[in-house]
């Protein structure tokens, strides 16, 4: 029996801040103290509070240590693990109260969360199938294979109200039911998993794959049984090396235990899964492009219909669901459709995982019931905006989504409400922006991304977005006219209506939503030739105020020699030479340089 479990986060965030070294050091130190038969070190998936990594939790006390370094390890072992004295200085400060250590579940970050898709992330070792089984893993697969017909499985998923978590929100049960029935005599069908998470700032699927890969495998096998497929493919980005590694370990373990392969649970059902690596093209997250890429061809979309349910991978009926969608499936089978549909709003059931990023205190991963307001996510769970800055907007849905301004902070988040306010759910990236962000610049950032990632197959997307970006550049350079705004709006609608796939159809959304809510910023760029947030370089002026003491530091640091002035006298910037690099402002000791 292990009296204590030390959980070390092995997700991407904590891995990049050195958690692997900490785990090794922990194991060595524990051995050195002779505790290896009493204390177990477990590598887990993401706990969600990536901002505080590397993270370590020690049970049974439930002590949450944050920002642990290799040097802290001997102290944790000799103080906490040997003598039972908690190392208070390393505790996550939210958990420290006057009367002692507070449970993690009572902290603001975790209190309002409800973990379904992430239930095992940060709890089990993702590289150990038995720990997954201990948390009811593969019980749902056992249940469907021994007690349920495929129709019953589809019925439960339909009734649960589960919708695609990749962003579009298509009802999962309907997708499965179409794939089961539309081609009655199909000799082969396929189950695909979309793990080609490409939105900038999104890392939900990555965390699920890294923290709980078996949940996805189990759900794909359930889907295979439901639609009548014997083969599955997971299409995952090669940029996710930890996720790929753990998926492969998981698949091998599942095969070893007979949970993938022939005659699973002696039910006569065969199912196997293979991993396919994507090279990181954003368009390959689109379903037809993804399937084309799995086939070994260039990842380009094709017109629909025929939909994949009829003619998908290798021309056979196929389904494609997102990682997070699959992660919900085993829980729905085990707990029933009613349990799932009791969470969320009328048309959006269950929970949604969001990746919080940008100007927010608790950067990380959160899972909340649908219908939670943006304010609760940003202020309560996310800990608000750092440095006392003011909230300006939140961006959801990545390059396909839009910006949500402060006036909509209290909108309950679900698929339909987000579309109504000009954004979309998307896969779940949530980027927070404060008063220092220029909304025209944000629109430009996302459009640059889609222009780069457009596959070039259809003209509206390939050329239309390029022209749109040129107009945005014209505005941020201070050369825009009011007619440009009308032209942009017209072009946006044209691109949306005529593009071949979801990439083009949604690419203008960041422009449209910023035009809708932050038109005043566009007007400031065009009419007043200023950038209110002082971001757009061509419209910014650096000036030296009367606080200047004439220390000459700015002049010495200016790379182009634009600053002149005598010692102990006020200096001046030659605006015609200035390249607006900001070096003078960063170096001034007297805060005498301002951006205008």
């Amino acid at each position: 029996m292990y009296r204590s479990h030390v959980l070390v986060c092995g997700g991407t965030g904590c891995s990049s801040s050195g958690s692997a070294k900490i785990r090794t050091e922990m194991e060595n130190e524990i051995k050195k103290q002779g505790l290896e038969n009493e204390v177990k070190v477990v590598q887990t998936g993401c706990f969600g509070l990536c901002a505080l990594g590397p993270i370590m939790i020690v049970y049974p006390e439930g002590c949450f240590y944050s920002r642990v370094t290799v040097e802290d390890v001997p102290e944790i072992v000799s103080e906490h693990l040997l003598k039972g004295r908690v190392v208070t200085r390393l505790l996550y400060k939210e958990t420290v109260t006057e009367s002692g250590v507070k449970s993690l579940n009572d902290t603001n970050f975790y209190k309002k969360q409800h973990r379904v898709a992430l239930r095992n992330c940060g709890v089990i070792n993702p590289e150990n199938i038995e720990e997954y089984i201990a948390r009811d893993g593969y019980a749902a697969l056992g249940k469907v294979l021994t007690e349920m017909t495929p129709e019953e499985v589809i019925d439960v998923i339909l009734k649960s109200g589960l919708r695609g978590r990749g962003g579009a929100g298509f009802p999962t049960g309907r997708k499965w039911s179409l794939a089961r029935t539309i081609v009655p005599d199909a000799d082969q069908k396929y189950v695909c998993c979309n793990a080609d998470e490409g939105d900038p700032g999104a890392f939900m699927d990555r965390s699920v794959l890294e923290g709980d890969p078996h949940a996805v495998l189990e759900a794909m096998a359930i889907a295979g049984y439901a639609i009548g497929a014997s083969q599955g493919y997971i299409y995952v980005r090669a940029e996710y090396p930890i996720a790929v590694k753990r998926l492969k370990i998981a698949i091998n373990q599942a095969r070893e235990y007979g949970l993938l392969g022939k005659n699973i649970f002696e039910s006569g059902f065969d199912f196997d899964i293979d991993v396919r690596l994507g090279a990181g093209a954003f368009v390959c997250g689109e379903e037809t492009a993804l399937m084309t890429s799995i086939e070994g061809r260039r990842g380009e979309p094709r017109p629909r219909p025929p939909f994949p349910a009829e003619k998908g991978l290798f021309g056979k009926p196929s389904i494609l669901n997102n990682v997070e969608t699959y992660a919900n499936v085993p829980q729905i089978i085990l707990n029933g459709a009613e349990w799932f549909s009791a969470m969320g709003t009328e048309k959006s059931k269950g929970t949604k995982v969001f990746a919080l990023g940008g100007k927010i205190t608790n950067t990380g991963l959160v899972e909340v019931p649908m219908g939670t307001t943006l304010r609760e996510i940003i202020e309560d769970i996310g800990g608000g905006i750092p440095n006392g800055k003011k909230f300006k907007a939140a961006q959801t849905g990545g390059p396909s989504g839009g910006c949500i301004p402060a006036q909509h902070l209290d909108t309950p988040i679900d698929y339909d409400n987000l579309i109504a306010i000009g954004s979309m759910m998307g896969s779940g990236g949530l980027i927070v922006m404060d008063e220092d962000n220029c909304m025209v610049d944000i629109a430009k950032f996302f459009l640059e991304f889609t222009v780069d990632e457009s596959c070039g197959k259809c003209t509206p997307c390939r050329i239309g977005n390029k022209r749109l970006l040129e107009l945005l550049n014209k505005i941020t350079d201070g050369n825009g006219t009011l007619e440009d705004l009308d032209k942009m709006e017209e072009l946006c609608l044209y691109i949306k209506n005529n593009s071949l796939c979801g990439l083009g159809q949604t690419a203008p959304n960041p422009v449209l939503s910023t035009l809708r809510y932050f038109r005043d910023e566009y007007l400031a760029h065009i009419v007043d030739k200023t950038c209110p947030a002082h971001v757009c370089k061509k419209l910014v002026r650096y000036e030296i105020t009367d606080d200047c003491r004439g220390c000459t530091k700015c002049a010495r640091n200016c790379p182009v020699g634009a600053i002149t002035g005598k010692v102990k006298e006020k200096h001046v910037i030659d605006q015609s030479k200035c390249i607006k690099c900001g070096a003078c402002m960063d170096n001034c000791n007297f805060k005498a340089i301002i951006k205008k």
């Binding site: 029996m1 292990y2 009296r3 204590s4 479990h5 959980l7 038969n37 009493e38 177990k40 939790i57 049970y59 049974p60 006390e61 439930g62 040997l82 003598k83 039972g84 004295r85 449970s103 993690l104 579940n105 709890v123 089990i124 038995e130 720990e131 089984i133 201990a134 948390r135 009811d136 593969y138 019980a139 056992g142 021994t146 235990y257 007979g258 949970l259 699973i264 649970f265 002696e266």
Partner: protein, 122 residues
């Protein structure tokens, strides 16, 4: 995997260790004094004896933790046993043999081993 029974067997085997990873407060807690005085008086073998006996009996609802010195160094090794909803019981001058009896009598059968408690010393 041939049957659901096989799956259940793995779950049972692993359940105890994975279930320790939560903030469950209705568990039985065994707290062992492991300050310098406790360790010098032999707290480590006592703790190992507790762990072994709990594992041998497959008890899932018990956690074993340590604590520092509470000032009664001459009575070490000291062990506190907390049953949910009950007053704590403090055992003194513990040995591995006594530990086995505390697990059997107190933790399993809920009978306090009075002769080992601090009350009997006074």
């Amino acid at each position: 995997m041939k049957s659901l029974e096989e799956l259940r067997a793995i779950k049972e085997k692993m359940k105890a260790s994975v279930n320790d990873r939560n903030d469950n407060t209705d568990k039985i807690r065994v707290v062992i004094g492991m300050a310098t005085c406790g360790i010098a008086a032999g707290a480590r073998p006592v703790m190992t004896a507790f762990l072994d006996e709990i594992a041998k009996r497959g008890l899932e609802n018990v956690t074993v933790t340590q604590t520092g010195c509470i000032g009664m160094c001459k009575l070490e090794p000291l062990v506190d046993v907390f049953l949910p909803g009950e007053e704590k019981v403090t055992y003194i001058k513990m040995t591995p043999e006594k530990a086995v009896r505390v697990v059997n009598d107190h933790i399993v059968n809920k009978n306090i081993v009075s002769e080992y408690t601090i009350g009997s010393a006074e």
